[in-house]
């Protein structure tokens, strides 16, 4: 088996078997969505109006939960150095970790989103748009998050500084993702927003492995 696939599979297994990574993020996602009506009231019209934004913000925050461990566990037990010595380029290692993170959080969050959209009284058309926007946009969350995770991997309390670093950089994903849902609610096409979101996501997935690899290298090199 090729090294990229091996690493991807290993990270997926680790995510599944240690502390139930996906289940934790999903429960958090659902919990935030449950608290919102308690905060803003049970007006179904209002809830449908804000659903896109709330679920997008909640999805980003849920994906953040497991991000700080993206490189940290491997760094602490030394396996990151062994992986760095393997023939796999560090950029591809970063890409494999981004993909593993997305498959274990971004994708499950996306799959759960229609159920939560139901609780927010969202119609079928905007629900489909929300689903598509999360499907397109959550890889960007994992990719930009990987930069933050690699920059903070040697910090004991990196989990605190990580959101401060990456949340401002993720503003475009939230804007285009939630914007697509709002466009549909207003009876307009969501193509422009989804297209821009796809562009942002592609760019992030394409470029962030380089930034993440550079900062992993500096943390290993000393």
């Amino acid at each position: 088996m090729n090294p990229f696939g091996t690493l991807l599979l290993r990270d997926l297994k680790l995510a599944a078997r240690s502390g139930g990574g996906a289940a934790l993020a999903l429960s958090f996602f659902a919990l935030v969505a449950t608290l919102v009506p308690l905060g803003v009231g049970a007006d179904l019209k209002l809830l449908a109006r804000v659903a896109g934004g709330i679920l997008w913000v909640a999805a980003v925050l849920s994906a953040l939960l497991s991000l700080d461990r993206l490189f940290q566990g491997d760094f602490e037990d030394g396996s990151l150095e062994v992986i760095a010595l393997s023939p796999l380029a560090l950029e591809m290692t970063a890409l494999a970790k981004i993909m593993a993170h997305w498959l274990s959080t971004g994708l499950p969050l996306t799959l759960l989103s229609p159920v939560l959209a139901l609780l927010f009284n969202l119609d079928v058309a905007p629900t489909v748009t929300l689903f598509l926007s999360l499907l397109i946009g959550t890889p960007a969350v994992s990719a930009v998050g990987a930069i933050g995770a690699s920059l903070t991997l040697s910090l004991k309390r990196g989990g605190l500084i990580l959101p401060l670093i990456i949340l401002p950089l993720l503003a475009p994903a939230v804007i285009f993702g939630a914007g697509a849902v709002r466009l549909v609610l207003d009876g307009m096409g969501s193509g422009s927003a989804l297209g821009l979101l796809a562009a942002f996501s592609f760019g992030a997935v394409l470029l962030s492995p380089f930034a993440a690899a550079a900062s992993v290298r500096l943390n290993l090199g000393g």
Binding site: S154, L155, P168, P172, G203, L207
Partner: protein, 237 residues
Amino acid sequence: MQFLFRYANPHNFMRLSGAVLPFTAIGAALALIAGLYLSFSVPPDYQQGRTVTIFFIHVPAATMAMGTYIAIALCSLLSLVWRHPLSDTAARAAAPLGAMFTALGLITGALWGKPMWGTYWVWDARLTSFLLLLFIYFGYMALWSAIEDEAKAARAAAILALVGAVNIPIIKYSVDWWNTLHQGSTVTAFKMAAVYYPPFFTMLLAYSLLFATLWMIRIRTAIVERRARNLMQGAAA
């Protein structure tokens, strides 16, 4: 390039900046006095009235806020690609100044917004992207101070600064797009009358000189601090 590296040596930098510093400091003070005097003596705008004075404090702050980020990004590039030793110190020293200019831009914007728009804060595209810029500055400074090993902190911060430099235009664009989604811009184009140019450019000069002065002082302080630390370590060993 060679010119830049001549002052990479902290000793050369200390000598040059020590000679330049009094001039920029006095220049900043004079320009600030002249600029403030001019700002308060212009005739009131036919629409904005007396509040036009805020413009001369607000816009240069916003310009400097963005300019400082560009300076940090360039320093970071110098440090990552050419290992220019002083540029890390320069980038770190500039960050709090940039954050201060951003905060000043936001505060004066809010004070201006109250009489103009009737509210301190509107989710206008420009205000929103500036708020995000402030958080980017905070994240950059937090990363610097969180990593103990100074060489590692410098390179990590440089990577973050460059990632931010790529992302800031995208954020700016996306916020503009978001703002036009539901409502047209509430800010009408501000076409300036000729009388408003002298105070504006004087204030811009004052801000630039002030930035140069504070930046040099901060870099010098960092250099002296490092020397003192090295001396103390030498004495202990």
